[in-house]
Amino acid sequence: MRKSGFHILRVGIAITFLWIGVLILKDPAGWSGYIQPWAANLIPVPLIEVMIVTAFFDIAVGVLLLIDMFTWIASLAALFHIATVLIVSGINQVTIRDVGLFAASLALFADTVPSNLIPKFLKPKVS
C-alpha cells in the first residue's frame, strides 16, 4: 500500500473506533439493543457492563491506531471486534458499513503484520 494511503486509512479507522467508543459510553443501554436476543442470552454478565467494556476496548484500539503504535495488533483487534459485531447484530440496513470497516481493518492488518509471522501461518510445510 502507498505510504500516504495507509496513513489516511489508519487515521480514518482510528477516528471511527474512538468516536464509536465515546458514543457507546454516552448510551450503553441503547447500544446494547443492537445485540440480537440469541447472542444476549449467551452473555452471563449485564449487557450494559459488556457495552462499557466494549467502549473502552474501541477507544484503546482507536488510540493505538491513531498514534501508529502496535498497529498490527490494533487492526487485528479491530477485525475481531467487527467480525463479532457482524455476527451478534444480525443483518440490517447498516451492515454494509461494517463490511467496509472490516475490509479496511483487514487492509491495515495485512499491511502491518510483521513479515516473520506470515510464514508460520501461510507457508505450506514441505516434507
Binding site: A14, I15, W19, L25, K26, L66, D68
Partner: protein, 140 residues
C-alpha cells in the same frame, strides 16, 4: 445544549491533530526529515530557533492541546462532568490555540520566510475548530 455535529467535528479534527503531532514527534526523535507534501520549507521551519516555547517543543505543546480538545469534546458529549465548566475550558483552550497558530503563521510568513506544510495544516485545523466553536453556540 450543544449538538452532536460540532462535538463530532471537534473530536475528529483534534484526533487528526493528534496523529499529525505524533508523526512530527516520531520524526524528530528519529532525527528524520518529515515528508513535506507542499513546498520544501518544513525542515527549515521545524528546525528553526522558534521550534520551542519555554524549552518545550511546539509539537509536544500541539499534542497536549489536541489531546485536551479531544478529551473535552468526548466528556461534553458523555456529560461526565458539569458541561458549563467543560465548555468554558474547551473554548479557552481552542482560542488560546488559535492565538498561538496566528503567531506561528506570522513567524513563517515574516520571520523565517519559509512555509511548513504540517504547521499550516495544524493552523488550519485550529482555525476551523475556532469557527466551529463560534458558530455552534459553545460561547453561549
Amino acid at each position: 445544549m450543544i449538538g452532536l455535529t460540532p462535538l463530532a467535528l471537534l473530536f475528529t479534527l483534534s484526533a487528526i491533530g493528534i496523529s499529525e503531532t505524533v508523526y512530527l514527534i516520531k520524526k524528530r526523535k528519529a532525527e528524520e526529515i518529515p515528508v513535506c507534501f507542499i513546498g520544501s520549507g518544513c525542515h527549515d521551519v521545524l528546525e528553526s530557533k522558534y521550534n520551542k516555547i519555554l524549552g518545550v517543543h511546539n509539537d509536544i505543546l500541539g499534542l497536549i492541546f489536541y489531546i485536551f480538545v479531544c478529551t473535552l469534546s468526548a466528556l461534553i458529549l458523555i456529560e461526565a462532568f458539569p458541561i458549563s465548566i467543560l465548555k468554558t475550558v474547551d473554548v479557552l483552550i481552542i482560542i488560546s490555540g488559535a492565538v498561538m497558530s496566528i503567531y506561528f503563521t506570522f513567524l513563517q510568513a515574516f520571520v523565517i520566510k519559509k512555509w511548513c506544510f504540517w504547521c499550516l495544516m495544524s493552523a488550519l485545523t485550529v482555525f476551523v475548530m475556532t469557527i466551529i466553536v463560534i458558530l455552534s453556540g459553545f460561547m453561549i
